[in-house]
Symmetry: C2
Subunit: 231 residues, 2 copies
């Protein structure tokens, strides 16, 4: 399973939730016999939604066919739902890629590009209803695999997503080994990481915190779904 | 608990394991009423051990007293075990900081600076024996709190570490809320994230992979412990 050198591309953009991209990067960059890029329109520094500055290693123009493409999410995804330069790049790459993937609300960008039409997929729990605006079979799981689409839930699900993807790319033993090297034996201090287990007050607090951003997201998703339906 | 605006500083350096720093950054940068910096000698881009490029936001010279200081690990930590500019900065900040913390082999740097003398602390499972070379009470847990020292185990333990630290900084409800926002309800695909649960073959494979780096780490730790004993 290690024959072909794999080109892995993780999209980055201003206003992304940095960990959506960088937790999978940490895993996937350790894929045996591979090169892992941060990919954007240009290679100038990018600022995530918490102010973290990372520098892309590959521009759209310089990218040859990627074997794996991964799209992260975050508030900045809202501004890209009608960005033809990005959506066109994703469509072009997806046509020849072995795996087309996302973490968090990156699935909304894949959906806007039409790349999840008829596929099972997931997203951040707060945005599952927005993914349902597209012709996607929404499955509210942490990691969803449907043919060559692999999508992860919110933010930290990118770790589980990446180990699953690594096992698909290079086999279970490679993923098991890296899980041990990265000491991935999680012990969350609270039982509150999903609305099914968090108490109602905490769920309400998060909905409240995110309300303005979600209102905007609903509007751009409705518009993107409308445009997609006309393509 | 949200009265004082907190200055949080996460050290970054060439050859660090990027996620050691950036998973805690993602959590801690969302601490209510706080500013979270990536801190290094200069603010030019830093390259982690997988090639990820991040830009520090605060230089040692520009740093005023930090309330929280966090040191990550990774192969590049080996080269810093006798770096007086770094160790001196850590000592100076630790004297006035509210919390002195580390993830992964960042604890070896705190130990080299003498900042874990007489404290309980942890490290990456592969490096616990190296931490034992210092006058530290090594506790092989994922997150260890002793007075104002908080240390985390290998790489991904930085998430558990950060949510624990956030609860110490701003209370349990703040941590619970952020765990839900970041959908931190982990589901590792394999049961192999710690030597106690991984099969023997996987443990041997990881030891094999890391052997060269660990040999170097033992040597620099022995030397750093010798220097510390003479201070």
């Amino acid at each position: 399973m290690t024959d072909k050198h794999l080109q892995i591309g993780i999209i980055v953009f201003d206003g992304m939730t940095s960990l959506d991209a960088l937790a999978p990067f940490e895993v996937l960059a350790r894929t045996p016999n591979s090169t892992c890029h941060l990919v954007w329109k240009h290679c100038r520094p990018i600022k995530g939604d918490t102010g973290l500055i990372v520098t892309p290693s590959l521009s759209f123009d310089d990218a040859t066919q990627l074997d794996v493409i991964m799209v992260p999410g975050g508030p900045g995804q809202n501004d890209l739902m009608a960005d033809e330069e990005l959506l066109g790049f994703l469509r072009k790459q997806a046509a020849g890629a072995q795996w087309v993937t996302s973490v968090c609300t990156g699935s909304l960008l894949l959906a806007a590009a039409g790349l999840l039409n008829g596929y099972k997929a997931t997203s951040h729990w707060l945005s599952l209803d927005f993914l349902r605006l597209f012709p996607v079979e929404v499955v509210p799981e942490r990691v969803v695999i449907d043919r060559n689409r692999v999508t992860g839930g919110g933010v930290t699900s990118g770790l589980d997503f990446a180990f699953v993807l690594l096992s698909l790319l290079r086999g279970d033993e490679a993923a098991r080994t890296l899980q041990l090297l990265m000491e991935y034996d999680p012990a969350p201090p609270f039982r509150s990481g999903h609305p099914d287990v968090a108490d109602v007050g905490t769920v309400d607090a998060v909905r409240q915190l995110a309300a303005g951003m979600l209102e905007k997201r609903r509007a751009v998703c409705l518009e993107a779904a409308r445009i997609l339906a006309q393509r």
